[in-house]
């Protein structure tokens, strides 16, 4: 049985301007020890998905309107707040984007790490401190014992992120959700943090969800990838298959829009720009949400009338589109346009 099974998750924000359908149809499953990368641009709903799993969405104005999140056999959406609190930090841990504001500036690092352990594991102060030192060493912070007594402002961005990881790992969670863990970091620090996460995932046998907008990061860190657009998963596949043969027009366009670091004729060439902007989530396009920007959408097909379903186009590769790449190629070969 998969560790985490998300089925048809929908989270809506009820605001004065209308109902923002931030997450509107997300399905995926995650096995123990594997890493899922959720990629998308701003407004795609990736962060809200993570927060929905943890039950951390602000209620009001948000609400999970349908769907289920089954973690280790229990549906998290059906649990009470106190039951969720028992799970957060212990079985599922989360690290956030901005290391500068994720830690409490008025508490020592040591306190912030031990507090999680005392809450969930009921260990003694001494035991907790010892484990905190071990954790800091695991995340490669030098002079761990001394550093326990420092306040966050004495740590730089990259080190704070490592402290966050240490806190997240304190109770040996089964699942770690990392929301844009390296976006605010320099590239050299990012490389170290990603290496660290991989190392820890293996040593702790954790499952991981990495949320990011950076295709390079998921190429490096993920086993499977889910591409999100306008609140929905539009493509889901293993990492090699996704990059080798992307199916959804958005995924293709996204990969084409990425500036490459290696290759020929980069300076002279143009990047594939996706025209327009992501849709307004209060009033999204009625059928396929990518249709207004899609080069293959046609007045005569179903793109504007019927919302496409997520279907398995080959083993392990799911796509939500009426015009996936392999069908386009077949069509072009098969019959004159």
């Amino acid at each position: 049985m998969a560790l985490l099974e998300v089925t048809d998750l929908r989270t809506h924000f009820f605001t004065r301007e209308g109902v923002v359908q931030a997450v509107d149809g997300v399905d995926f499953s995650l096995e123990r020890g594997k890493t899922l990368g959720i990629v998308g641009e701003s407004g795609s709903g990736k962060s809200v998905t993570a927060l929905s799993i943890m039950g951390l969405i602000p209620r009001p104005p948000a609400r999970i309107v349908s769907g289920s999140v089954v973690f280790d056999g229990r549906d998290l959406t059906a649990l009470s707040e106190s039951e969720l609190e028992d799970i957060r930090g212990k079985d599922i841990a989360m690290i956030f984007q901005d290391p500068m504001t994720s830690l409490n500036p008025t508490l020592k690092i040591g306190t912030q790490i031990t507090e999680v352990m005392k809450r969930h594991l009921g260990v003694s102060d001494e035991e907790a401190r010892k484990r905190a030192v071990d954790l800091l060493e695991e995340v490669h912070i030098a002079n761990a014992a001394d550093r326990l007594n420092d306040y966050p402002h004495r740590f730089s961005g990259g080190m704070r992120q490592r402290v966050m990881i240490a806190i997240a790992l304190a109770c040996n969670p089964k699942l770690l959700i990392a929301d844009e863990p390296t976006t605010a970091l320099d590239v050299t620090v990012q490389a170290q943090v990603l290496d660290l996460l991989e190392e820890l995932r293996d040593s702790h046998e954790m499952a991981m969800i990495i949320i990011t907008h950076d295709m390079g990061v998921v190429a490096e860190a993920a086993d499977d990838i889910a591409v999100m657009y306008a609140g929905q998963i539009v493509e889901r596949a293993g990492v090699l298959d996704l990059f080798d043969r992307p199916e959804h027009p958005y995924t293709e366009a996204l990969l084409g829009a990425l500036p490459q670091i290696e290759g020929e004729g980069i300076r002279e060439g143009r990047l594939t720009a996706i025209p327009g902007r992501p849709p307004d989530l209060v009033d999204p396009p009625p059928a396929c949400r990518f249709a207004p920007r899609c080069p293959y959408a046609n007045r005569n097909d179903s793109c504007t009338t019927e919302p496409p379903e997520l279907r398995e186009i080959r083993a392990g590769h799911w796509v939500r589109s009426a015009h996936p790449a392999s069908e386009r190629a077949a069509h072009a070969q098969g019959a004159p346009a």
């Binding site: 641009e41 701003s42 004495r154 730089s156 961005g157 990259g158 080190m159 320099d186 590239v187 050299t188 620090v189 990012q190 490389a191 170290q192 990603l194 290496d195 907008h213 950076d214 295709m215 390079g216 990061v217 190429a219 490096e220 990492v239 090699l240 990059f243 366009a253 996204l254 990969l255 829009a257 990425l258 500036p259 490459q260 670091i261 290696e262 980069i266 300076r267 143009r270 990047l271 594939t272 720009a273 996706i274 025209p275 902007r277 992501p278």
Partner: protein
């Protein structure tokens, strides 16, 4: 214009920020050497990409060149004229030829001014044209950057990040500059919008014969627009050369480590690259430490 076609010549540029301590009476206890002896040239019509991590001094270098910050020492020759120590009125006139596009689309436009006024401001400041002719110029500029000229009466907050960057670019073009310093112009934008703006910048360069100093931390973005690359680390220029050369055959250890650290959207390559990275583990750790340390020091 100078004899060898260099539009901009920077020699031994330094910028030190004093570190002050004390409550009642502030004493200067030391200096942060944000820029520590940087020299390079930019030829007319080319793009020099200035790359570095946070604390490398790349943005400070850009601001010093534009004289938005006063350099501590060094020479900056623009169109053959030495900028440091230039009389105020002369500098003001020279500003028409060198402009800037900022990183943050939200703080780079005055929220209380209409789009039209924002783009017209450079023209107003230098007394160019009449009100009517300025209106026309503004419409033309906005059209050039792909922004609908019918929205000149709107306010910046009504537009998205990408649209605001276009407004900023239109403003930078208003005075017909020769050199534009682009300070992380796409860092705050989504990938798909980023591509639009990068394409736009390339087109504008071709159409108007612009010269760019393109400052960024994203190596892939810089690669897409630059002819030559300069790599900065902790205030020093560690490598400079043809873009192709620097990316495929870097000479400096830091540059090599930096390039090794960049994730590429290709999972197979990533496996190899991760192995490569281990070779540079030491340099990377050092670089990470100093990048880390930089954030603890006073910002520039």
């Amino acid at each position: 214009m100078t004899s060898n076609g260099a539009l901009l010549q920077v020699e031994d540029l330094t910028k030190h920020f004093p570190v002050k301590k004390g409550i009642l009476i502030e004493r200067t206890v030391g200096h942060v050497k944000a820029v520590d002896g940087v020299s390079f040239e930019i030829r007319e019509g080319e793009t020099l990409g200035l790359v570095g991590e946070s604390g490398s001094g790349k943005s400070t270098t850009g601001y010093c060149i534009l004289q938005l910050l006063k350099p501590t020492s060094g020479s900056i020759r623009f169109q053959g004229v030495e900028l440091t120590g230039l009389a105020r009125e002369e500098l003001r006139r020279t500003r028409r030829d060198m402009q800037i596009v900022f990183q943050d689309p939200y703080s780079s436009l005055d929220p209380r001014m209409t789009v039209g006024n924002i783009v017209a401001e450079p023209l107003e400041v230098h007394g160019i044209g009449t009100r009517r002719s300025r209106r026309e110029t503004v419409r033309r500029l906005l059209d050039t950057v792909g922004f609908d000229p019918n929205f000149t009466n709107r306010y910046p907050h009504e537009f998205s990040g990408g649209q605001r960057q276009r407004i900023g670019i239109a403003r930078a073009l208003a005075l017909n500059p020769k050199l534009i310093v682009c300070d992380e112009p796409v860092s705050a934008l989504d990938v798909s919008i980023q591509a639009q703006i990068l394409n736009l910048l390339k087109d504008l360069q071709r159409d108007f014969g612009l010269t760019y100093l393109f400052i960024a931390h994203d190596l892939a973005v810089v690669r897409a627009v630059s002819d030559r690359i300069a790599v900065m680390n902790r205030g020093r220029l560690v490598e400079i050369g043809d873009a192709e050369q620097v990316y495929t055959n870097p000479q400096d250890e830091y540059t090599k480590a930096l390039l090794a650290a960049v994730p590429v959207p290709d999972p197979r390559k990533m496996k190899e690259r991760k192995r490569e990275r281990r070779k540079f583990a030491h340099t990377l750790a050092e670089a990470a430490e100093s990048a880390d340390a930089a954030t603890l020091e006073p910002s520039q």
